[in-house]
């Protein structure tokens, strides 16, 4: 009996300057396959369904257990991680495309460094005095930890930016992931001492004002981070900060 097969269609572009084309691959079915295994199968036998020899597909991947954030792509039109996208649960033929909101490098590989730049711009860190011994950290209630921990699980995959109508070439909007990180650092006891710096940045270009409250972000987050709650919380903080600054001049 011949092996059961299925079709994967991949949107290809060898270079950002080159024209887009699609390649169609016929792969051997096995139970529990994920998209990463499909891409490895293609790399081992880079021949299309119509018999053309092509280059293996370039893509980003690292941990393969949905915690590094690398392998986000559009799978059947939906932004998600390739490692946790199981072939058994996908409509066929499977369609793979790169994320569209980030500069393309090649095939399914995009450059998401803008997210890390935004984290820099929004000062997403706890400013410690130094790594020398300074005793224990601040005490924290379990309730606060339970609020912070889910936010700190953001893997910077970019899915929430991809799905956001306000993230586009005409806007600098940093996106929900970054806003949620601002919330995280503002709720930490030490981070809170510097909340105003982050809020000032959030009031600037590409900041929270650009959010249109479409609420798509929260639906595509692979880590189930309450992004819309974060947006609401930071919105409130920005508002209070603005009123306070207005009354006190500067702070």
């Amino acid at each position: 009996m011949p092996d059961k097969t299925f079709i994967v269609r991949v949107k290809r572009q060898q270079h950002p300057d080159e024209a887009i084309h699609w390649d169609e691959f016929e792969l051997r079915y096995r139970p529990h396959l994920n998209i990463i295994t499909c891409l490895r199968d293609i790399a081992e036998h880079p021949t299309t369904r119509d018999g053309r020899e092509v280059t293996p597909v370039s893509y980003d991947a690292n941990c393969l257990e949905e915690i590094c954030g690398a392998c986000a792509m559009l799978i059947n039109g939906y932004p998600r991680q390739a490692c946790s996208a199981l072939v058994d649960s996908l409509d066929k033929p499977i369609r793979l495309e790169p994320l569209e909101k980030f500069p393309l490098v090649r095939d399914l590989l995009v450059d998401r460094s803008q997210m890390f730049e935004s984290l820099k711009r929004m000062r997403c860190w706890i400013p410690i005095d130094g790594t020398y011994p300074l005793g224990e950290g601040p005490r924290m209630s379990p309730a606060l930890q339970e609020q912070g921990y889910p936010l700190s699980r953001c893997i910077s995959c970019g899915n929430c930016l991809e799905i956001c109508p306000k993230v586009n070439e005409h806007s600098d909007f940093v996106g929900a992931a970054i806003i949620s990180q601002v919330r995280l650092f503002n709720l930490h006891p030490t981070g809170a001492m510097h909340a105003s710096e982050r809020l000032e940045a959030m009031m600037g270009p590409g900041g929270i004002e650009d959010c249109d409250n479409a609420q798509n972000c929260v639906k595509v987050c692979p880590k189930g981070i309450p992004l819309t709650e974060s947006i609401a919380a930071v919105n409130g903080q920005v508002l209070r900060h603005a009123i306070k600054s207005w009354f006190t001049g500067h702070d």
Binding site: A61, L64, I67, C68, P133, G137, R139, P142
Partner: protein, 594 residues
């Protein structure tokens, strides 16, 4: 020299910590990483980080952490730095806490601790079941802060190809390749620190990430850095089988009360939940009443192999055992283990809160690695330092769970300042090195690329890689026989020959991942040989290195460190004594309390 410059290769926990320490000392630092550092393999660490803070009123102490670590490592680790690590661990936790790591808390707002393998104490601080991710992010954020101040410069999306070593045998910088443009470039540095992680890819299927190929370690080995104790490979007892990856199910599941069992009746096909309690065999609890489900990993892994392959009691006749957390409270499952339960649910499609998980051992960690001295992470080549999983220093013949995160950070804490001291004391820095030294290395690497790009042949790198992984996994992991391992050496010979006939299906000069992988594969083959040779030579059983033909630890002949060196294509093994000056070796036996 006055204004030194340091290069760090690798942006996991060790690399980031080293970078922070270098930047703090006011020395500019270039940080190279294949992936954006936030995506490094440290994110995969789940269970926690050890430190004897004794916050549970159990009388835990640094001495006990030290003894557990040495005993767990079957006395193969040099002891002084391990003691240093255990001493530093509580302050490391405090530092991470100050950096904002969302560690789990007690009602009083203090750090919570849980139990882990190979100890009787609650010594493991944790952030849910994604502790590595949380720690990596904390360091990533600090590095980003230094980056915004211009003190650290990142080269993300670059892969290390080789060190630039001058005629006097001193490292003067590195040669690296931009993975987008495929440009090969050299960079000057007065000291270079390598924090390039694990080697899981040698086994193809492991718990490691894609970038854990050991390629950098192998390249350095070929340039004269010793590789030590390569034969000590940790196979983790509990992972989810998978074709692309064996996904770890953290020891913390057992630390929080999870139990390992199989049906007593061979080949029992009933669903797990319908098998009554008295028909379940909790073999770890029975065989190791004191440590029970928390025996060290090598012990648990061998027990699972025995139950599956000798006793034929694998679940449903397959190579699998149950890891059962269904009896744990909802609170423990949600607050302390959510991260791993989510992985199981997503990748297997079964809710582990309701049904026991099916798991099997998987290659997980290398105790061996680049040889470093007993003071400050310096290798034998002046100007080259190593820290993290890629060094061999801290775990002897078997690593205890939750000791890796602390050893990575401790290694980085030492290596950063040590590299700065070394660089400042240099009479002549790398800027005095003639450009021709750099150009020669660049040309050598460029030519290696060109050879691969123009080579004609019929071999595919992925096929060769898979065959390497199969033979390594079969013969050089849990149970080792010399004749089988000699077959593996012959297989590596054959694969190296076939490697010379690789046909790259991609000959472009833009984001060519096939070329990158082919370069890594060549290095993997050499490192696989180092590991196998070391394992064949060591005729004893110690920690993770188990030979049924030599079932006892043999201190008279083998209480020594394997040091592999490389000279014109030949691998030589030599040995040096282990520093056991602090805890005299004694029998390691987990059937009773220590």
């Amino acid at each position: 020299m006055k204004n030194p410059r340091v290069i760090i290769v690798g942006g996991g926990l060790a690399g980031l910590m080293a970078a922070i320490r270098v930047a703090e000392s006011g020395v500019p630092c270039d940080l190279f990483s294949i992936v954006p550092v936030k995506r490094s393999h440290s994110v995969c660490a789940q269970g926690g980080i050890n430190a004897a803070k004794n916050l549970k009123g159990e009388g835990d102490s640094i001495a006990k952490h030290f003894d557990d670590t040495i005993y767990g490592g079957d006395f193969l680790a040099n002891q002084p730095l391990v003691e240093g690590m255990c001493e530093a661990a509580p302050a490391i936790i405090d530092l991470l806490d100050r950096m904002g790591v969302m560690f789990n808390r007690t009602p009083e707002g203090l750090l919570d601790f849980r139990r882990f393998g190979g100890t009787m104490y609650h010594r493991t601080a944790f952030a849910g079941a994604t502790t590595g991710q949380q720690l990596l992010y904390a360091l990533d954020e600090q590095v980003r802060r230094f980056e915004s101040e211009g003190k650290i410069r990142k080269y993300e999306g670059w892969t290390f190809l080789s060190a630039v070593i001058d005629n006097g045998g001193v490292c003067r910088g590195v040669c690296a390749m931009d993975l987008k443009t495929m440009e090969v470039r050299t960079f000057r540095a007065d000291a270079s620190i390598f924090c390039t992680g694990g080697i899981g890819a040698l086994f193809v299927r492991s718990t490691n990430s894609v970038v854990c190929t050991g390629s950098a370690q192998s390249a350095l080995f070929q340039q004269g850095v010793y590789y030590a104790n390569g034969e000590f490979i940790q196979v983790h007892p509990t992972a989810i089988p998978g074709e692309d990856k064996l996904r770890l199910m953290s020891e913390s599941a057992r630390g929080e009360g999870g139990r390992v069992w199989v049906p007593k009746q061979p080949g029992d096909k009933r669903p797990a939940n319908s098998i009554p309690e008295n028909e379940r065999f909790y073999f770890l609890e029975e065989w190791y009443p004191k440590y029970a489900n928390l025996v060290p990993r090598d012990v648990a892994t061998r027990a699972i192999h025995k139950i599956v392959y000798e006793d034929k009691l694998g679940v449903g006749g397959e190579p699998a055992v149950y890891l059962d957390v269904t009896h744990l409270s909802r609170e423990v499952l949600d607050r302390k283990l959510e991260g791993i339960l989510e992985i199981y649910e997503k990748f297997v499609g079964v809710d582990p809160r309701k049904e026991p998980m099916k798991v099997f051992p998987a290659m997980h960690y290398t105790m061996g690695g680049l040889w470093v001295d007993n003071e400050n992470q310096a290798t034998n080549v002046p100007g080259i330092y190593a820290a993290g999983e890629c060094d061999y220093q801290y775990h002897g013949a078997n690593r205890l769970g939750a000791n890796s995160l602390v050893s990575c950070i401790y290694g980085g804490i030492l290596a950063g300042p040590a590299s700065v001291r070394y660089a400042r004391n240099l009479e002549k820095g790398s800027d005095a090195t003639d450009e021709s030294v750099f150009e020669a290395e660049r040309v050598r690497q460029r030519e290696a690329n060109d050879r691969l790009l123009h080579q004609q042949g019929s071999e595919n790198p992925i096929t060769i890689w898979k065959e390497l992984g199969d033979t390594m996994t079969e013969n050089v992991t849990v149970i080792r026989y010399n004749d089988k391992m000699r077959q593996t050496l012959a297989k590596i010979d054959a694969l190296e020959e076939r490697y010379r006939h690789i046909n790259l299906s991609d000959r472009t000069q833009w984001a060519n991942q096939t070329l990158q992988f082919a370069r890594e594969l060549e290095n993997m083959l050499i490192l696989a040989r180092v590991i196998t040779l070391g394992a064949i030579a060591r005729d004893e059983t110690r920690g993770a290195h188990y030979k049924p033909d030599f079932p006892e630890r043999d201190d008279a002949n083998w209480l020594k460190t394997t040091k592999a060196s490389y000279n014109s294509g030949k691998i030589k093994l030599e040995y040096e004594p282990v520093d056991v000056s602090l805890i005299p070796p004694r029998e390691r036996k987990y059937t009773a309390a220590k």
